[in-house]
């Protein structure tokens, strides 16, 4: 009875979404304020029903209702409660409901955050979000209903053991918030195309939403990489798996978008380009959804596949993205504006940023989709290896990082190269020296790649810090706005990330050795001694646990207990690595297999500065948060008065 309520709620949500999609848009063209006024209430109502449906599914999990097929396939009565809650998004149907919940949350936020915008504009934005909602709700109800019932299983099949981890609670919701959030700038872009015009106000409204989506996407991807790192115990954190790429491509586009929006807001140029980027970012999000769920790509991550679902999503892509691109082809020319800038100017650097990011996106997309092209035309099975992606990502990113340092300090419209370099050029030798000396001292080795990588990272860090630090030291200088703090912080995060990624790829070490109780093995000066091997019982698994003592220079650093688990219900085997970490290195051990004669294969890792990868991402996201909550986005009344009185931008706001 109760699960049927959930399904009914989704149907009601669909009805409201249809209203939300149709009437406000129609009203904006027909000049009907009463229809346009339906936008917000429809969005609110849709949210209520979607949230209710989601609550029903969560309730079914928490009460072990195994008459619901989805619950029976993904849960078990012995599953810890937190994972029962997270299991809602542990499979295709439930995760789609999460998608829907996130979309209606964003829609609700936009609906209420847009009260100071003209009605015809905001009703178009909400209307477009409504069209997307209709598409996803239809998809859910027609092909992927999470509330399907079965006679009733005695017990559930348990959640996939790989997902029974704290990160499962955090990673998917954060990722979806970012991923789905790209629908908001998309809706803004389509609204601008429909209106046939786009002004600086548009950019100012769109920017905070885009930055929030970006920062959530950054955090979501970082969580995923971190989870892969400690969960699988093989030391890697990014393999350019098609599903990883599916979330990374929208991130690249959204990064380009926030920079392009900066130019459009400030100078009123790059308009049609910004619109195209916004459409592309959301298209890549939808494409990712398609690739993951249609079954055309084989991947460790993909959900159980079904070509019918694939066709439906492809149809959605066609209507939503195809429709937007047709609109773009027809209307974009009316958006153009005049506005020049010199070679050395902030616009120019931001343009370079966009070009390089787009190149990276295209090359990664090519590598991801190439197997599909080949299969469609030649029926050969081929996959593209990691080194291609690593190289093809590095080629545009290194110049981007180098230019980034300069771009942050460039003035709008024009600046002399000499003035730009004057402050910054003494940072170059500092970065270079650090890049050569530090690895030699810390790791006893160096190479061209690590010097370039670390040097670039340090360069970005220094150029991000120089302005805030010098202003803090000089008490007479103008204070930085929060947006400026955000920019410097975000770029600082990028620099930290680059340093961490370079060092950890260049200087990491791993060893696989057979070990018996009482034996020791060594890696990079760290000694592991196997003290004991025993069997232990967990809530829904049995495990072999090894006890290792980690020592350096004879001193005890930590006791590590890696496990080799066998989950009882799905008879799946999972390795849990044991990690000892500090800011400058992670050291860890994981159990391999029983080799017989009391010997086990053991894997040892040394990962220097891997934490800088995670910290870099966290600082990036934090910078985004600062930038999105800048005063000028939070005081709509003041801005409304300003734009009405047409005074123009106040002086002394500084470079944005």
């Amino acid at each position: 009875m109760i699960p049927e309520l959930g399904q009914f709620a989704l149907v009601l949500a669909l009805c409201l979404a249809l209203v939300q999609a149709a009437l406000p848009l129609a009203g904006s063209f027909a000049g009907r304020p009463d229809w346009m006024a339906l936008a917000r209430p429809a969005a609110a109502g849709q949210f209520v029903f979607v949230a209710f449906a989601y609550g029903i599914l969560a309730y079914a999990f928490l009460t072990d209702d195994f008459t619901v097929l989805f619950v029976a396939s993904n849960s078990h009565s012995a599953l810890p409660t937190a994972y029962k809650f997270a299991a809602v998004w542990g499979g295709h149907e439930g995760s789609l409901l999460l998608w829907m919940l996130v979309l209606s949350t964003w829609t609700l936020a936009v609906a209420f955050g847009s009260r100071n915008q003209p009605a015809d504009f905001s009703s178009r934005v909400i209307g477009v979000l409504g069209i997307v909602s209709v598409g996803i709700l239809l998809f859910t109800l027609v092909t992927s209903n999470p509330f399907d019932r079965i006679p009733g299983a005695i017990e559930g099949r348990d959640l996939n053991p790989a997902l029974q981890d704290p990160s499962m609670v955090v990673h998917p919701p954060t990722l979806y918030l970012g991923y789905v959030g790209t629908a908001v700038p998309f809706a803004f872009a389509v609204a601008a195309l429909l209106a046939g015009r786009l002004d600086k106000d548009w950019a100012r409204w769109a920017r905070p939403w885009t930055i929030v989506a970006w920062l959530l996407l950054t955090a979501g991807i970082a969580f995923g990489a971190w989870w892969a790192y400690y969960e699988f115990g093989w030391g890697g954190w990014w393999v350019w798996d098609p599903v990883e790429n599916a979330s990374f491509l929208p991130w690249l586009m959204t990064t380009a978008l926030i920079h392009s929006l900066a130019v459009t807001e400030r100078r009123g140029i790059f308009k049609s380009w910004t619109v195209l980027l916004a459409i592309a970012a959301f298209t890549l999000s939808l494409l990712g959804t398609f690739l993951v769920r249609s079954g055309i790509l084989d991947s460790v991550h993909s959900f159980a596949s079904d070509p019918t679902r694939g066709l439906f999503i492809l149809g959605l892509l066609g209507v939503i993205s195809g429709g937007a691109l047709v609109l773009y082809a027809v209307r974009a020319s009316s958006l153009e504006a005049e506005g020049g800038f010199r070679l050395v100017s902030r616009e120019s650097f931001l343009l370079a940023n966009n070009i390089l990011l787009v190149i990276a996106t295209i090359l990664i997309l090519l590598g991801t989709l190439y197997p599909l092209f080949i299969e469609a035309f030649r029926a050969t099975d081929v996959s593209v290896g990691e080194p291609y992606f690593n190289l093809v990502f590095l080629i545009p990113m290194l110049p981007l990082a180098a230019l980034l340092g300069l771009g942050m300090h460039a003035a709008w419209q024009k600046m002399s190269m000499g003035a730009l370099l004057a402050r910054l050029r003494w940072l170059v030798p500092i970065a270079l020296i650090l890049a050569i000396v530090y690895p030699l001292v810390a790791y006893g080795a160096t190479s061209v790649m690590t010097v370039v990588g670390v040097g670039t990272g340090v360069w970005v860090v220094l150029t991000s810090l120089i302005e805030p630090v010098s202003r803090m030291l000089d008490s007479r200088s103008v204070r930085l706005t929060r947006a400026q703090w955000g920019m410097f912080a975000a770029h600082l995060g990028v620099g930290l990330f680059i340093v961490g990624a370079t060092v950890t790829s260049g200087f990491d070490a791993e060893r696989e050795v057979p070990m018996r109780i009482g034996e020791s093995a060594e890696i990079e000066g760290y000694e592991f001694e196997l003290l004991d091997l025993r069997t232990i019982e967990g809530p829904n698994f049995t495990a072999e646990e090894g006890e290792f003592e980690l020592r350096r220079d004879g001193e005890l650093v930590a006791t590590l207990r890696p496990q080799d688990r066998v989950y009882r219900v799905r008879t799946a085997q999972m390795t849990e690595a044991a990690i000892d970490g500090n800011l400058f290195r992670d050291v860890f051990v994981s159990l391999g297999a029983d080799l017989g004669a009391g010997s086990w294969s053991v894997k040892l890792h040394y990962k220097p500065m891997i934490r800088f990868v995670w910290i870099g991402c966290a600082v990036m996201a934090f910078g985004g948060l600062l930038a999105a909550t800048d005063r000028r986005y939070r005081e709509p009344a003041r801005e409304r008065a300003k734009s009405r009185s047409a005074v123009g931008k106040p002086a002394g706001q500084g470079a944005r």
Partner: protein
């Protein structure tokens, strides 16, 4: 006056969409199963209802029949179940291969919601499944009176795919003799 460069994005999109469509239509990685036209592999396995008895291809007469790979854990199998019942009631012989399943769960499905199968065999280790080149469930094979595999359908067997794929083959085979 439209500049041609604004048409580039939609053109690129259309090409990609076309490629995806081709990929989806193809089914999976390989366009056509090499099993088609080959003799249906023989098997002899324990019966689902009574594991002490063996059932298999030796029990099947020379006729048109469907071999359906299914399991309780396979969600899509639940969706195609009603249509299989319909086909069975209209006289199509359907034999089941229950793959890597829990016997009580499998029985619960066919006992409570109807049994479309003449019999189901338990393929616990995936022996027959490998011979038939099965890569997932559900998959349905159409086998003819000459005991060759006429068609293979991956995924849910819908009325549309039955009409479009299987029925023409049956009719062609009947006409051709």
């Amino acid at each position: 006056m439209k500049q041609w460069r604004y048409l580039v994005p939609i053109a690129v999109f259309a090409v990609l969409a076309a490629v995806f469509l081709v990929n989806l239509r193809m089914g999976r990685s390989v366009p056509e199963s090499p099993m088609i036209g080959q003799p249906a592999p023989e098997f002899s396995l324990p019966s689902l209802r009574d594991p002490s008895t063996m059932v298999g291809t030796h029990d099947i007469a020379d006729q048109f029949y469907l071999l359906n790979i299914w399991a309780f854990w396979c969600e899509v199998c639940h969706y195609e179940h009603p249509f299989l019942l319909e086909l069975a009631r209209s006289g199509v012989p359907i034999y089941g291969l229950n793959w890597k399943d829990e016997r009580d769960e499998a029985l619960s499905l066919i006992d409570t919601r109807g049994d479309p199968f003449v019999w189901s065999a338990i393929d616990e280790h995936g022996v027959a499944v490998i011979d038939y080149g099965v890569s997932g469930a559900p998959e349905t094979f159409l086998i003819g009176p000459d005991r060759t595999i006429l068609a293979k359908h991956t995924g849910e067997l819908t009325p549309e795919s039955w009409e479009a794929k299987f029925v023409p083959l049956i009719e062609a085979h009947r006409a051709g003799g």
